[in-house]
Amino acid sequence: MPSPITLTINGSLHCIDIQPGELLRTTLRRLRVYSVKHADETGESGADAILLTRTPEDPTSYRLVNSGLILAAQADGASIISLEGLEEEGEESATRSREEALSPRLSALQQQFIECGAIQCGYCTPAQMLAAQHLLDKDPQPSEAAVRAAIAGVLCRCTGYLKPVQAVLRTAAQLQGKTPPPLEIDVRDAPATGEWPTPDELPPDGWRGEGPDTQTQTRSVPVTVAPPQTQVVNKAEPKVDAVKLAKGRPVFTDDVDMPGMLYGGLLTSPVAHARILSIDTSAALALPGVHAVQTYADLPRVIYASGGQSYPQPPPYDQVCLDSKVRYVGDRVATVAAETPELVQEALERIKVEYEELPAVFSPEDAIQPGAPVIHDEDDAQMIHDAKGNIAVKLRVDHNDVDDALASAAFVFESEYRVHQVQQSSIEPHIVITYWDEDDRLVIRTSTQVPFHVRRMVAPLLGLPVRRIRVVKPRIGGGFGGKQEVLIEDLCAHLTIATGRPVKFEYTRKLEFTSARTRHPQRLRFRSGVDASGKLVAMDVRVVADTGAYGTHGLTVQMVTGFRALSTYWLPAARFDCDVVYTNKPVPGAFRGYGAPQALFGLEQHMEEMALAFGMDPVEFKRINWVKEGQSLPMAVAMGEGREGFPQTVESSGLAECVETGAASIGWDRRNDPEWKAPPDRPHIRRGIGLAICMHGTGIAGLDMGAASIKLNDDGSFNLLVGATDLGTGSDTVLAQIAAEALGVPLEQILIYSSDTDFTPFDTGAYASSTTYISGGAVLKAAEDVSRQIRRHAAAHLFDGIEADQLWLEGQKVVAPDGETVPLETVALHSIHQEEQHQIMATASHMSYVSPPPFAAQYVSLEVDTETGQVTVEKAAMAVDCGIAINPVTASGQVEGGMTQALGYALCEEMPYDPNGKLQIDRFGDYRILAADEMPQLDTVLVQTYEPTGPFGAKAIAEIPMDGMAPAIASAIFDATGVRIRQIPFTPERVWRALQREES
């Protein structure tokens, strides 16, 4: 029965009827306090934290608590402060001046969060800022440790916490009347001469043969790097979306109210492999308020692949919306739409499913055995490599004759590595709202990385033409690849079609773990040969990958594994042989790094182990072999994204500088200091330092396409419409900076909107480290076109006797060589209203046949407790060549956040299963993502080169931070203890066992 409670929220008294089981978070959101976010059910995320007290007269009595772990009834009579209330603090009058209303104020903390780049996706930001403000109210001069402890209960998956902590400390200084020192982002330019490739000599045995690729087909002149002469690009501009995120405004998918909206829910399989003999939905449908229950019997059977990728989807096509067979614990069984979330839950629990259980397999090794249960025995799946053998995809790429090369090598080394399954774990779960608009078009408001792929891909599943679907992407609370998937849009849309009502469908955290996407586990075997001088002559990589129950992304992720394994070091001959195998486990998909972290965990250790076995210094061994400017990447041709690729030459590389800079940051020389390595006062501790080289790509060559439209407004400002999807990375800011630079205006003159399939041009979406390079290329082209139009109109009408190509745009003006200027506003008004009236506007597309690699060196220093196996990372450093950083703050934020995720991959994140294939974790905490108060020191150096194919010289940075931490940690553990561990994660027990084995 509903009962009334009273709550004082940000100073206003509210009386509201609540249900006995209603969470305080639910009540607050009903009262439109949208800064309070749902991220989990058990409180570990802290995204719904608020300040609460029962004695508001004592301001120090407020406590930070999670509103999702308190019943609304418990809070009856309490006083609550949410982020919305922070800005009102200290205000003497409740009425605002007109100036304030027009230009909302920011608190010191909000300002610092914005300036420091502490906000990425912004989903955890409200809770994080409340936690910080609460600390500052009690302790105006907190230590860094105090700041970290204060915000530790609010998990962030984007930032690595460095910039939020910095923002809080700077706020404290500012509030004390001190001027915080200027923000320091370590940006250096690689040597102006670039890095000349060393001349490569032919191996004596003539491996080159008839092969089409040679090592040095083309050499480009190394590009001279000079500090860019730019006004907006390469500057630490605040993020264009920062204010709304800092204020906790309703910008995410969930932050809307729709009249008549129903809630959707999913029943998942409790068994790993079974046929559904019957489903009885009658008891669920009998509940008043339940509007639809859908099973395989209710939906058309359309075969598809769920990975959000370009047309045509890479095979296999092995999914349908709802099937009569389940293939893992967590697989889709039935959906419900009902009036309340509680009714949804009750209805789901009333659905009776009769399963005929089938034998299940949980490892690729078991799945490929003869007689193993066949996971995809349906007769309508398409393009599975060997369905009876459970092999989804088989990849085999040969470049020259590896066997010959290895046979003639001076030294051959072979080693094997294992990587495990982890989860993207964006703090905002997957969430979709679907509804019919007034023109009978289906609107899908969804937290996705790939709005345009979603529209194209759901159309056949729903039986609607693309033209009747509109996909709207609001702000996204993190994705990391997990939202590069049509995961629940289809199910939600089917419920809207069935009920005619708006439906909201959000995953619980448990569903995120069991029924979303993960990283592919792999077993990797490397066999390489070198000549007498230590130069690689061939590498043979064999990978067995686990794609779980469905093949989405299985082909392309593993192709990237092969490409990364065989391109980082220059190889005269190479072979990649890979089986992507079905098992009855939750499904891997896209996850930041996309096959590269797996490859590099093996490759970097293999190189180090080989060097030691061969008798060379590992760093020197890597140095003479890593790919250099001017060298071609033979595997780029052999391995496209599920199709043949395009030839590519490395045009820019600051790798040597990265290795040097990173070594200085980490204190590489300490490797030779016995007192540091074995501290005398702590006899069970050993310390070590490790290095991994990283090389990634920048977009998918010949495939990724982004487009942008730019329109001149009356006042000389510009609308920039892009299909690109900012997941919190700052891509909207970076794209706006590119436009601003090209149009000679400050950043605030660019009004960027992204993205809506009705209004913005196409973009493949946020993946493959492509947005700055590909979408940025489109923005630059569109801006240059608009610039030409402006200059042409100005030359024709507003200057006297000057050609358009003599003019340039600068300082919001059109400038002539003689110093005469005409404001952009004048050109705008003139062109729109006065003479030769037309809209100055351009749309441009961009794609690239090359994918210039960013390079990096990642270092860690750590200590190993030799009695317990516990590994504690002291510091992680990354020096990265991302070309010219369009925005050094957002770029370094990508590095810090990526390194933090990579630390989790190496140390503590894990998806363990019981013998029946049931996941043993279903909450944060058990699934440990690093918190603010347990982070190692992070150091980022941007080593700038100029990439001639990128906008203003840019390359990618988003994924490369994910790639090398695990092998760097393995290397450091080896340095500390002499023990090589070829499997992640480095949990205490795994390390302890390795140390025990070594002892015995």
Binding site: G21, G43, L69, L71, G153, Q345, D865, E867, E910, T987
Partner: protein, 272 residues
């Protein structure tokens, strides 16, 4: 999604007992909610119709009671560890262990009674209470208070057949003591895999021979362990850990010697 038919907030123990002992309704006490609201929300517990919020019973207090610190069961972990006496007790072992109970926003909701009732195997706060030789105060419907040592209480809790009783407080012996703490976890602030808390008292008793249990625990030197049984327990005797993804039974057993040694050494190294 917490599906509850009832929420009650009694203002007396008698009312609370009346609500909890009504056989017609499946009701449970709500002592903060940091755990219970989560298991309701995830539907891990589906057998609960109503909750009886203990927040109105005046059980949030910390007071010195002679040689004891008496802590009300509804006192939050934060209130406990921020109390001046808490920092003094055995060198501040409660604040030291409580930060591993969870971050601030969870400690602000979780109560000491909840920690005792749940007895989670990896609760280092619970282990500290054991090592400090805490007692549990329970009340029964007849208004009778019972004080029992925590380890005895734990053995008998929760007893379904017994008449209902509520944890109303924890009694902690004051007096000079030193404590040490050692832990193993996947990350620095993760819940522990295995941990030990040692408390050595300097109240003169140690001069006399004391009866010791199998683990060498006496009234003046006690070591409690996490992660080697269904709940934290005093060191010694037979530990039968259940292995899980954080650590196998074999690993946990092997680590007992390490953490006990380190915790004892840390306690011994502290001047009382």
């Amino acid at each position: 999604m917490a599906i509850l038919a009832e929420y009650h907030k009694p203002t007396s123990l008698a009312q609370a007992f009346e609500l909890l002992s009504d056989p017609a309704f499946r009701r449970v006490p709500l002592a903060g909610g940091a755990h219970l609201v989560g298991v309701l929300e995830t539907r891990e517990r589906r057998d609960i119709e109503g909750v009886v919020d203990l927040a109105g019973l005046g059980l949030s207090f910390i007071e010195q009671d002679g040689a004891y610190l008496h802590v009300g069961a509804m006192t939050t972990i934060t209130d406990l560890i921020e109390h001046p006496l808490s920092a003094e007790l055995a060198g501040g072992i409660l604040p030291d262990t409580a930060r591993y109970e969870g971050p601030l926003n969870l400690r602000n909701a979780a109560t000491l009674g909840g920690v005792v009732a749940l007895a989670e195997p990896d609760s280092e706060t619970y282990a500290a209470l054991l090592a400090l030789n805490a007692s549990v105060v329970t009340a029964d419907p007849n208004g009778q208070d019972t004080i029992s040592p925590l380890q005895e209480f734990a053995d008998a809790w929760p007893a379904a057949s017994q008449a209902p009783s509520l944890i109303t407080g924890i009694r902690l012996p004051l007096g000079q003591a030193a404590a040490g703490h050692a832990r193993i976890a996947r990350t620095p602030m993760d819940r522990c895999i295995v941990a030990a808390v040692a408390v050595i008292r300097a109240d003169g008793k140690s001069a006399r021979p004391e009866p010791a249990d199998g683990g060498g625990n006496t009234a003046s030197a006690r070591v409690a362990l996490c992660g080697v049984g269904p709940r934290p327990s005093l060191a010694g005797g037979r530990h039968i850990p259940e292995g899980d993804f954080k650590g196998s039974a074999e690993y946990r057993l092997a680590m007992v010697e390490v953490v006990v040694r380190r915790a004892r050494a840390a306690a011994a190294a502290t001047r009382i």
